[in-house]
Symmetry: C3
Subunit: 199 residues, 3 copies
């Protein structure tokens, strides 16, 4: 189940990265790098901040092949994949929930305090997109629009809150996952976003 979500999330992140690269008229190599960075950049940044080396994808050839394949397929079928927008958003949202929990638990495993764990969860789920935007010469969408990181942060608080309720403890992953996914879906559906600060 969870490995299905990881793979679906990775593919969705990679495809959305590839589409962003195509929109900037990169070549196939550039498109593949952006797909890579979008889908693995958050976890890579987390591993670097924690000092867990080599970063995981260097040891996992399958994920490299997967992302290159997604990039090539996205380039070939770009019009069709663009039309799959709803499917992509669906898997992107599952990925958001899953990668947040993964980041939190890596932090817990490293013995960090709960605020640091929430930060690591948010970085894991969201900062691939930040690096993508920096490379593509845009101010990161994550900092300007939509409820996205907010869902991860709220999910993170819930994670540590549930630790205190014995009868819910064992269900915390599944509950946090659904809350993050729910917040994100509602935000998209109702078109809610954090207000931009006026200067």
């Amino acid at each position: 189940m969870f490995s299905f979500i990881t793979i679906g999330g990775t593919i969705a992140f990679a495809a959305s990265g590839a589409l962003a690269g195509i929109r900037k008229n990169l070549d196939i190599f550039g498109v593949a790098v952006i797909a890579f960075v979008t889908s693995l950049g958050g976890g890579t940044l987390r591993d670097i901040l924690l000092g867990q080396f080599p970063v995981k994808w260097l040891l996992d050839t399958k994920i490299v092949v997967l992302i290159v394949s997604v990039s090539v397929l996205t380039v070939i079928f770009k019009n069709k994949i663009n039309k799959l927008d709803k499917t992509l958003v669906f898997f992107d949202t599952l990925g958001l929930g899953f990668f947040t929990i993964k980041g939190i638990e890596v932090g817990v495993g490293a013995g960090l305090s709960w605020p640091s764990c929430i930060i690591l969860g948010t970085i894991t789920a969201c900062f691939g997109g930040v690096i993508r935007d920096i490379i593509l010469n845009e101010i990161p969408t994550l900092f300007r629009k939509e409820i996205y990181a907010t869902a991860c942060i709220l999910g993170g608080f819930l994670y540590f809150l549930l630790e205190n309720f014995n009868f819910l403890k064992d269900y915390k992953e599944i509950l946090v996952f659904f809350v993050i996914v729910l917040i994100r879906f509602l935000a998209i559906r109702m078109n809610i976003s954090l207000p931009n600060i006026k200067s």
Copy 2:
């Protein structure tokens, strides 16, 4: 005394980062990330280059809370804080001197040569602002304007020069601190900057 300067410097770096984020109309999450990166990015980059993990702020929840608080307060009182410009510059300059020395001494502690230590001091004090500008889609101010890194580099040379004068050795930190602060203040006061290279 020095911990007063660390806190003052961290707050000044965070507030100036938050103001830069507000100027780009980010949302509150984006403003907080930019504040974070501006104030902790230089030290984080130093720790990564040296291989000292986990990076320090992951173990120091207080500094995370401090920066988030500064961000929220800056957003609420943005007009008032903008008027505090001189106070901010004052603490920013103290921070510049202090963080340079801290970076140098981390390098010394790692057994590095003096040029590498000066580089680490400069990175610690200045490269948070560089990362801030990269994220905000600007060519880093540090590379184009004003005497800022120059003050750190000159202070760094002085640090290692004073090592050779027995009677001054014990005062080197305080002397270097005042020289960096002095150079920076004079540069601001007299509006001196490195000339831009004409292409």
Copy 3:
């Protein structure tokens, strides 16, 4: 021989970085940082991803002095160095071949799979320029134009292919070097590039 190529390649990378900084009218400090990042950024990123610390140039004061000298000379003689364009491209291409092989062999030494080694070779040779472009607020040239990373990747495949031919094994470095250099020169000469993906 190879140390001649390392130095020539490092100088060429640094000089091209310095020229890019001059074109953006940075000051001398900014020009030197861009030269630094262009020539050492790829290897630094490789060392970080692998977890080999401190990153090498912190232990090698000579290379720091070399790059600062190249930066200063490039600023002083910028018109003359601009005219040396063909010499720069020559050494840049030698550097491309050499740094790719170095990156691959660092990966092999760390026990990584061949796809990861090819990625590390490409990062070592090409990603200094990517970081340069990100700092200078451009979409990386590497992702949009010319055969550059492609030469490294093809060279990387050849490297691991030759492992299987006993009689060629000992010559693999020299063969890969020449193939990368040849592909790059032909691409420049015949003005070949990967097609940009139309969005």
